[in-house]
Amino acid sequence: MGASQSGRVHKFQELADKTGFSIEQIKNLHSRFTYLTQDEDTLRREHLENISNLAINPIRRQIIEAFFDKRNLGENEKGCLQEISFEEFVTVLSFFRPPKPRIPDEEMKNIRKEKLRFLFNMHDTDNDGVITLDEYRRVVEELLSSYETIGAETAKAISDGAMLEVASVTVGQMGPDEFYEGITFEQFMQILQNLEIETKMNIHFWNLDTTTMKCGK
């Protein structure tokens, strides 16, 4: 018992160092993980789909997929996993950790790049490195999916307009016969630079144990 405890603590420490969470936060996330998976070792999609609050979220599919996307787990290969372990769960969640207060600008830029990369991967579902018009269209459609009266044409027009804007801003001049492949990661970063992702894309990971408070289910 003691050996496994210390082994787990050791593992937590490793995780804490790797992802930047504190030990307390990792412990809380672990309890949440076991709660979600109902004491199994690995998390599967069905476990996440069981969260009732998530069911009404219009982009739930993409959120769930993001957890199983290999690109977010620091591996250079593409594709998805079918189930993830606790380390991978925490790794994905570390994208949403608020940056520490006093860090140099360089590091802030890196953090912003990582977060934007996460967003980019969420949009780029076929892993080809660019967000094509179809993929963007699907994003807008899903965003609007909670409104029943909106037809597909509206989503199409909006995504067309957005795409046009990206192209205009990033590429500028194109001849009438050239074809714009899609949004690359650099262009993605460029158009969202005003959004201050590093301050917005964060959630609070409290140091309290919230699973016993019966939230989130």
Partner: protein, 775 residues
Amino acid sequence: MELKMFILVVVLLVGSLMPLRGASSSLGTGTTHDNHGLQNHQNSSDTTPSKKPFPVLSFDYDHVRTPFEISLWVLLASLMKLGFHLIPSMSSIVPESCLLIVVGLLIGGLMKLVGENPPVLESNIFFLYLLPPIILDAGYFLPIRPFTENLGTILMFAVVGTLWNAFFVGGLLYGVCQLEGHRLGNVDLLSSLLFGSIISAVDPVAVLAVFEEIHINELLHILVFGESLLNDAVTVVLYHLFEEYTSVGTINVTDVFLGIVCFLVVSLGGIVVGAIYGILAAFTSRFTSHLRVIEPLFVFVYSYMAYLSAELFHLSGIMALIACGAVMRPYVEANISHKSHTTIKYFLKMWSSVSDTLIFIFLGVSTVAGPHEWNWIFVVSTVIFCLVARVLGVVGLTFMINKFRIVKLTSKDQFIIAYGGLRGAIAFSLVYLLNEVHFPMRNMFLTAIITVIFFTVFVQGMTIRPLVDLLAVKKKQETKRSINEEIHTQFLDHLLTGIEDICGHYGHHHWKDKLNRFNKKYVKKCLIAGERSKEPQLIAFYHKMEMKQAIELVESGGGSKLPSAMPSTISMQNIQPKKPPQDRALPQLSKAREEEIRKILRTNLQRTRQRLRSYNRHTLVVDPYEDGWNEILIKKKKMMELEKKISQMNNYLTVPAPPPDSPTIARARLASDPQAWGMKSVTESIPTIKVDLASPQSPESVNVVDELSKKGSQPKVSDEEEDGLTMKVPSPVKQRKDKKPDEEDDKEPQQRFMRCLSDPGPAAEEEDEDEPFLP
């Protein structure tokens, strides 16, 4: 040159003000005397009415005295404001509020020289007439998102910060007075605490006046400004508490406890009152589709009633007004017409500007007028303690707040927040309200407050701009929001809510999401008329953006240059996936021929655009029952042949027509609203003229037809019978749509979707009168 004339006019006005008042006292009584005399004569002796020559021209100042003077003051204030902007060098160094106070001082000085009693800023007038427009303007246009995101911080500063300031200043001043002894001995603890509470409140009027000119980033602006608005509740409670109990002399624990309860009641009560009136206003606006002209009136009157009702119960009027404006805005804006929206915006800005100017001028005049009692020690120590208290308060609170914030406040931010704590006319009016009997040292308080106000407005107000530049504080971003940013903001909202749900705790995003869903499901249905209630925010944003672009386009008039909205040459075809050539139904024209066609079309369009400038651009509507209608129909067929070519020049994106009865469509119209023109659904038999405003050729649609048919220069293009540019008869279009869905799909999606900009006149079957929008 114009400056000299301007100064001459102003001097004349001011000059007329003096002798007028002097003359009024003598002449006024003179004329009334005369009248009385005449009447008496007539009453007493019917026999011999003394015959006076009939007064051809008489002078009766008393008759119009009050409104005349008010108007004169308002005129003077506005001319002053105008004058400052004629001197560009001044307005960039000195904030407007300082100049206005100086003007007030000058006028007050002049009046005193003449021997007149300068008018004082009466608290009644201030609180009931001058303050509400400014607060309503601030509340109605309050940026809700940053406000709610930083609400915790703002509340901390407003409540805890003001309390700290009040007690620190009050306590220390009491100590100083006790130490000083003889002249200040009668300032007891409660009086000095009262004084502290009055002077510690950051003033929204002054903050607005100064911060508006320095354009700092949104976060700091909302922090200081929000604090100035929300500390009203604290000020009200402390003021009444100390004022009540000063006469008694002591204060015990029950009173303190009651004070806390009172604070909660005052603030929450004010918000509730405001919210109720806001909801009433929103609900009323749902039914105003037939009487668009009085829509702005509802907004103003409901808000003013909210303020007065709150003041009735001694609740916080400012918070009521803010709550009312913020609550009603999203719903009212969805219901009212575009013109009403503009009217509201401009009236609010106008009133708040006039109020603001009057307040500062009167502050200057009252300084000259008011009874003063200068006491070096008291005044100087007040100023010093205020500054020290503010700095300490901000630093201390930020230290605590930063533990809970994601975006920490840097020391630069703290400095600006501390430095931006300006005092203003509210403090002055509150002191003025003090009863002289209970507070024998009132005049001393008055002097001290005026000194502090002057110090903060002049010294801090003038130096904050260079300091902001020196410290390189982030300025407000002037860039417009792009559609990508909007999409991703919403995406992020949902993403973060989802992650919070996965992690299992109810965070900020969870509650916001819940509120939004509640809003969508229940509230919007009640308060927003018609189809608009179901419109998602993204669509509304997109329509707004498109409309702005379209209006810019038309207002730029045309000419050979495309407006700068889309300087790139990227058009839809660059983005559409390439189709193999055999899908094109169009015969291949040679490049030269294509160029020729394009050139012809372009020149024609420019010419018609210039012609159109002479037309009244408010009446782009064509009445289909006019005689020329049949002609137009014939020409329409010819136009269809050109559409293929025209579409390639179409650099502008059009959006799908929103559901036919959506007011956003109608809002995109340029026509003035003569009558209620409902939107017809596309399937009705009345042919609709759809003008695609978002494309360069659109406004001239009708004329283009004429021009081109006259020229006879229509190339033989195969009839792509897609909807073009100009007119379509709805039913055949529908059929065509069904016939060739695939071909058209990716090639010219933009052509199918037109923004309907003009509408036929009211048809016989105008069933649905409750359409929300009047063009």
